[in-house]
């Protein structure tokens, strides 16, 4: 049984005079009191608790988590892959954690070498030779690359204002385009779920700066016309940006640069097993073609003979996008992952990610509709539209009920091009037994009474948060 008492707010658990520590009497001379105008009129209203109150409170809250370390976590589009513990251990070595960014470069040669090597690994994987590790997240990488594109066209003297974005893209794509000063223009999907080439042809002109493409796309489908698409954009003088969110599916098999892509970002937390942020630091390194290299943000990690250095003598650079060297601790984990797996291991990641997704897709096809594709890459989208129409069971109901069965729900209602979407991405590290158990849970859930599902989850401390009221009338501050 869970003790609901200990997870009430700390303010509610507070009792006057209760405390964790009783200070000994002061045995040093007291200093001058601060001037009266600097002293609070009332003491801070901090909760008063014993040490045990606090420990039980936080330990209990921690047990409510659904995490990849405790639960299958098939959150499509987010690649919640397992974070190997060796990466954590290595990234926490004091030689790496005790560095200071203001240290002389001669004294951080090891770290600079590691980052330089990571640049080279990413260049090799992407097929794009120039790399910046600076961006602090995937969307930041998008913005940085679009600023590079803007600088490139400015230098050419070409006023290009449009960025083409498929309707199945992540919402960050149009947001980044807008922030970089471009006008986002939507390109439709065809009935097969891929970019509609006719619509692309209509929208492609000499005002198009960049086409942003996600490949495989958010339906888990490979854009089979990628080479044709990049050629057409290049013929109009535009550039191609690849959203690297789904690189897990093609590692070691497809190099975006070889397909004509000019710029891309990686999400180390999706592809190279660094932890998902949870609000913490991320990283979104970008790789660009040779002709865009002069515009990369500074500093780039360079090498002269045996010496590694921060190169900020780059007159065409768009400038700094992040302090110091970027979020180094995340990048260290990515380096560890890459060095551990090597090229063959990385290909194995893509193979197993795609195999697991197709295995699960085949298992789920008899119970839920799959609007696009007989086969998928690393993820797939099923639709609950039919069960909603026939039995009143929505994608949200199914997702909530999965929590009762001990599974983290998949992504729901994305991409927007699929009704009642459930977007499932098992990742490469899951066993056949786990995939079978998940499929079995879904079989059971879809057969359950709709009223049971609409009440789900029943096993969590909070049932269904009132999202509507939370969004319309957010209460952001605790008041007694």
């Amino acid at each position: 049984m869970r003790n609901k008492e200990v997870v009430r707010l700390l303010f509610e658990l507070s009792r006057p005079g209760r405390r964790a520590v009783r200070w000994p009497a002061c045995d040093v001379p007291e200093c001058e009191p601060p001037p009266p105008e600097a002293v609070r009129e009332e003491p801070l209203p901090l909760p008063e608790l014993s040490e045990l109150d606090v420990v039980r409170h936080y330990t209990s809250l921690a047990t409510f988590n659904l995490a990849v370390d405790t639960h299958f976590y098939p959150l499509g589009s987010c690649t919640m892959k397992y974070n190997p513990k060796r990466n954590e251990k290595l990234a926490n070595l004091p030689g790496l954690t005790d560095l200071h960014p203001y240290q002389p470069q001669a004294s951080v040669q090891g770290m600079l070498r590691l980052l330089y090597e990571l640049q080279q690994f990413l260049a090799e994987i992407s097929g794009l030779p120039a790399v910046s590790l600076q961006p602090a997240a995937g969307a930041h990488g998008e913005l940085t690359a679009l600023l590079i594109a803007a600088a490139y066209f400015r230098k050419l003297g070409e006023p290009r204002c449009k960025v083409l974005i498929p309707d199945s893209a992540h919402g960050t794509n149009p947001a980044s385009a807008k922030m970089a000063g471009f006008e986002p223009v939507e390109v439709r999907s065809n009935p097969q779920g891929r970019i509609d080439l006719e619509d692309l042809a209509v929208k492609l002109d000499d005002k198009v700066a960049v086409l942003m493409i996600t490949n495989p796309n958010t339906l888990g489908l490979f854009e089979t016309h990628i080479v044709d698409i990049t050629r057409k954009v290049h013929e109009c003088g535009g550039l191609i940006y690849l959203d690297g969110a789904n690189m897990n599916a093609v590692l070691g098999y497809v190099r975006p640069g070889d397909c004509g892509v000019d710029m891309m970002h990686f999400n180390p937390h999706k592809t190279f097993s660094s932890p998902h942020g949870g609000g913490g630091p991320g990283a979104g390194p970008i790789c660009v073609a040779e002709k865009l290299a002069p515009y990369l943000p500074v500093p780039v990690i360079g090498r002269r003979g045996e010496e590694y250095f921060l190169d900020d003598q780059r007159p065409d650079s768009i400038g700094r996008v992040r302090s110091f060297f970027g979020n180094v601790a995340v990048l260290v984990r990515a380096w560890c992952y890459l060095r551990t797996l090597g090229p063959d291991g990385l290909r194995g990641v893509a193979e197993h990610a795609v195999l697991n997704a197709n295995y699960l897709l085949t298992k789920l096809k008899p119970i839920l509709d799959v609007p696009y594709g007989e086969r998928c890459m690393h993820e797939f989208v099923v639709s609950a539209a039919r069960v909603k129409r026939e039995r009143g069971i929505s994608a949200l109901d199914i997702a909530k009920r999965l929590i009762d069965y001990g599974f983290h729900p998949p992504t729901v209602y994305f991409p927007l091009t699929v009704k009642e979407a459930l977007m499932i991405e098992p990742t490469e590290t899951e066993s056949r037994e786990t995939l079978d158990a998940f499929a079995q849970a879904l079989v059971k859930i879809v057969a359950e009474d709709s009223q049971v599902l609409q009440q789900a989850p029943t096993t969590t401390p909070v049932r269904r948060p009132d999202e509507v009221t939370a969004a319309r009338h957010p209460v952001l501050k605790w008041t007694p």
């Binding site: 919402g171 209602y413 927007l416 999202e467 509507v468 969004a471 319309r472």
Partner: protein
């Protein structure tokens, strides 16, 4: 759905009224659109005096599921904005063709009805989805 209204591909409706040589269009979103969006949490509308153009974005409607752009079915100047809807989003669900209207536009050019659907055509289109 209601008669006398024209509907766009992107699920806005428009009612055009002529008086004293001027054409004023009332614009809203269809009951189908409101249903698809699910629970609305926010609507962003233009200001009185703003110019809107056919096919271009004039605002945003946000639900717990997604944020969607609103596209103008007509070209002209915004002469009135429904402040009541912004305070009470449920109006859109309760009365999408009446009290749930969004903006009124004084037309600066003839509306392009060939781009819009009548009630019958729109009904067929959404029932096939």
């Amino acid at each position: 759905m209601q008669e006398g209204l024209w509907y766009s591909d992107t699920h806005e409706w428009v009612r055009i009224e002529r008086s004293a040589g001027e054409q004023v269009a009332t614009v809203g979103i269809s009951a189908f659109a409101v249903e698809q969006l699910t629970d609305l949490v926010y609507v962003e509308l233009p200001k009185v005096g703003d110019q809107v153009r056919t096919g271009q974005e004039f605002g945003t409607v946000e639900s717990v599921k997604a944020a969607s752009s609103l596209y103008s079915p007509v070209t002209g100047e915004v002469v009135e904005v429904n402040a009541k809807v912004q305070d009470d989003l449920d109006l859109l669900a309760r009365d999408p063709y009446g009290e749930g209207w969004l903006i009124k536009v004084k037309l600066s050019q003839e509306p392009d009805l060939s781009r819009l659907m009548d009630e019958e055509t729109y009904r067929k289109r959404v029932s096939s989805q």
